[in-house]
Symmetry: C2
Subunit: 552 residues, 2 copies
């Protein structure tokens, strides 16, 4: 039996588009002799549909489009497609997260997801009832164990040391193994994390090896707002070697002969995991491209400050959208150094990106004039710094409003963590590109992006980071060096280590306390940030939910 | 046996404060002869602790403070207190949502929550394993069925017509009834909704009547960021009549003699549900007060436009924080009508609130000057309107930054729904007071707030609503009258009716389509709004999660 894995980029709620995409992939696979075509989790509507699952018309459309698909495809072929299924029972959640087997012009067996991830960015128990009954798909004389994403993740590789690995009291694969399958198929919508690339692969190789069965894994690809799905679908042989795999962040498909897979040897390049920074760059470029593409926008703007964050954001955006679709603003103040403007101009010219220089000093003067009756002769403080950032935000948004560009936010994860940014100022934008990238990784990204062709001027990479909101300001005036800061942040945010453990790891207690306090005190700012492209296992945004008024 | 219900306002994570509050309430109840004191769900840490539950040091503190409480109280008395309990099993979620029975200086029986709400604002399955084993608390010769909040909500009164009422496959009260209890106790953290006041009461009266048992319900009171808990704890007799009840939005306690309760008649005023607008006003005042109190802030600022939204926000804030703690700005432009300033001054003077008038025209001129190289001679459009709103936002935030005030956002639910507002402009603020109040209810609130003493000038209530961002602008230039708009919005957002059903209800198809499109297209704006005090069953914010890039 020949099985095709079709790794596609779905648009949530675009039923016509998704149906066309799936039908086309089935036809193509059919031409190459496929008997069975496997798509990804909730492929008919795209993952994650979130609260659209609570709307009757949305579920009706899911159901009818699966039916249309069953009728549209070659009746000789089999197709496994994901979609929400109304729960026929009278109690429990309204829906199952299901996979439909289509064959002979109709919907055949239905397989339901047992393990419903409800942590971090996942909210599946919000919508779905867990499955507790197991059956096998028999097709062309082969017995296939059909599983859905988390069903294979009965043990979690959490980064939080305190989290437990076994979140579920049921193990669906153990149940299915009792039914003596010849292979395991997994339809997934598994988001990217640069820290989980090996762990994810080992889920599939580990299961294959443990049960001596081939595993066929088909993941969604592409970005859904902040969530990035890398694809990376693969076929694993019964000895746990990856025999064939699909690329990261690109639609593609492969064909696997099941009998050959059972006897196969590992292919040299299959399942090769990309280098970390390369993977992050690919993820962010995909995130920008899909955010614009799926919203129907083409052009972006951003403020180019002469610093590393806006430079890296620009380089990524140029790759994702093309330099012709970018229009950047240089917004110098009296505190900006000359090289900030020069370096930015050099970069924009090098990339061929349209730019304008709008000095903000006259506006800053006018703000001070307008506020004089209130501020009188009070000393300057962060109020004046924030005014400059908000002038820049307002000018960028004016450009965005006038010409229909989306403003890209350029804040990195380190400064977002400690609240080193101005709400409605530099924290503005439709999408945060680097909000899940620590500053030390922003530097590595810069080097990576420069490796083929120099797009970011060397001076931008080597000069000491500064917000340039007062004379001779440096980031290190108020923060430790980023090498140190990022380690503390990662230990506190990703690993969720308690204060005492940070100190035990060698961080200076006063510094650790100060950083923890800054992180906790700035939840209110992050509540209002744009969606942040998620590349780690714990990004700011929907996957991290903290009370704003906690005394903690 | 005498049972006290202690309805307290907890501060999430303030273990020392919460412990002191609970210990004090036990001592007071003891003086009045109570044998058992009942607190609310997760009382030791405050509800909802959200992802603090994933932190080891937070759980350790919960556990140790329950132990400290057991030792601190009179060993003769019994106490039921809520807190997270580490799951002693090796699989399943890390925690149970539990109630601890404290007696004799130690922790006795532990009762675990069975039904874990995971919908709307609730994410309990994110953290907790559901209970499936049931036992009774035997104390002083009485058998008590201890339940936790949702455990009694096996049937849901959802406003979404499509939602099903029976979300759970288990019915904990049915299980407990088999163990022949004398009374049902419910420790809750049940948030306010002005639409569910009757439905909530009927949960308890219905259960009491159905099983012929008294029901004692103790709810949390006070605000936790956007979530408002009204309290309204009550004792219900076996015939389903409310015999005693606690006020809305105020800490208080009552003592109930269990034997008397079993034989009691309804008390005339007990369980009286406040009038809807009065309840909303109380909820919003509590929400403002606790947001400031729990964050340690005293003073607020807001922009007083001469319109109804900012006037009602100001009146509520004056009630919550005191007029002395407010400093408002009047920010007229060349498009502002004279009466806008006059009405605002009249209101500020009447309340005794400090105000300043800062005309924004010079700043608006300077923005146009600065942008001239880009905008050239393009016609004015919403870009220029938004600049005015962002100038106001920046001036208000400057005041906030300079003097340590929190900016109150004044947007209402109707305009937030259709995206009639400027990101980083009038959508700025630390807290949105009216973001869950439809415009038609804002008017009713104004009338209510004026009923005792006129605080809002009549002219503000009667003039046609306008954003005053261009000459002679009226809201009805681009929107239907609010009476009609609000009905469509409520049907689409709260009831989640599909497009066809709206038309079947008599709304003009083109209008319904336009409003639905506006709501869907503006998810990206709402992603960045401040937390919104939640008074309905479906507020914008954490309880409503929609994909930004959906094609829908």
């Amino acid at each position: 039996m020949k099985i095709a894995l079709a790794q596609l980029n779905y648009h949530i709620g675009d039923f016509t588009g998704n149906l066309a995409r799936i039908t086309h992939a089935v036809a193509e696979a059919g031409k190459q002799g496929a008997n069975l075509v496997v798509f990804s989790e909730l492929s008919i509507c795209g993952y994650p549909p979130l609260d659209l699952l609570e709307r009757k018309e949305f579920i009706d459309a899911c159901v009818s489009h699966v039916e249309m698909l069953a009728e549209a495809i070659d009746p000789e072929m089999g197709v496994l497609v994901g979609g929400p299924e109304p729960n026929p029972g009278s109690v429990g959640k309204m829906l199952y997260n299901s996979v439909f087997f289509l064959h002979g012009g109709r919907i055949g067996q239905v397989f339901r997801k047992s393990l419903l991830p409800t942590y971090d960015i996942f909210d599946e128990y919000r919508y779905f009832e867990p499955n507790r009954e197991f059956e096998i798909l028999e097709f062309m004389g082969r017995r296939l164990a059909v599983t859905i994403c988390e069903d294979l993740w009965d043990e979690q590789p959490f980064e939080n040391e305190y989290a437990r690995s076994r979140l579920y009291t049921c193990n669906p694969l153990e149940e299915l193994i009792r039914l003596r399958p010849h292979a395991v198929i997994n339809l997934a919508a598994s988001p990217f994390s640069h820290k989980k690339m090996e762990a994810k692969q080992s889920i599939f190789t580990g299961k294959a090896k443990r049960y001596g069965l081939p595993v066929l894994y088909c993941n969604q690809v592409g970005a859904q707002t902040e969530l990035l799905f890398e694809g990376g679908s693969m076929a694993v042989n019964p000895s746990g070697s990856v025999v064939a795999s699909l690329p990261f962040f690109r639609e593609d498909s492969i064909m696997v002969d099941l009998d050959a897979l059972i006897r196969s040897k590992p292919a040299p390049d299959a399942g090769k995991i990309p280098e970390r920074i390369e993977a992050i760059a690919g993820a962010l470029i995909c995130g920008i491209r899909d955010y614009f593409g799926k919203l129907g926008f083409k052009t972006a703007t951003l403020g180019l400050s002469g610093g590393i964050d806006s430079a890296v954001t620009l380089a990524l955006a140029a790759e994702a959208l093309g330099p012709d679709n970018l229009h950047v603003l240089l917004l110098p103040s009296q505190y900006s150094s000359d090289h900030s403007v020069d370096d930015s101009v050099e970069m924009a010219l090098g990339l061929g990106v349209k730019y304008d220089i709008l000095p903000i000093e006259p506006l800053f003067m006018q703000f001070r004039e307008t506020l004089k009756p209130l501020f009188k002769n009070l000393p300057e403080d962060n109020a004046e710094e924030n005014i400059q950032a908000r002038i820049r935000g307002a000018l960028l948004m004016a450009l965005s409003n006038k010409f229909g560009n989306i403003l890209l936010n350029t804040s990195n994860k380190s400064e977002t963590a400690v609240g080193y940014g101005t709400l409605y100022g530099d924290m503005s934008g439709g999408l945060s590109v680097l909000g899940d990238v620590y500053k030390t990784d922003v530097y590595l990204l810069a080097r990576y992006l420069n490796s083929e062709k120099k797009v970011i001027p060397e001076n931008i990479i080597t000069k000491p980071p500064s917000a340039e909101l007062r004379p001779d300001q440096k980031d290190t005036d108020s923060l430790p060096p980023y090498e140190e800061l990022d380690k503390i942040l990662e230990a506190y945010i990703e690993k969720q280590l308690p204060r005492e453990k940070l100190v035990a790891l060698g961080f200076e207690p006063e510094l650790a306390n100060r950083i923890i306090t800054l992180v906790n005190q700035n939840e209110y700012k992050r509540y209002q940030t744009p969606p942040i492209l998620r590349i780690s296992s714990k990004a700011f945004g929907v996957g991290r939910r903290l009370p704003l008024v906690a005394k903690y």
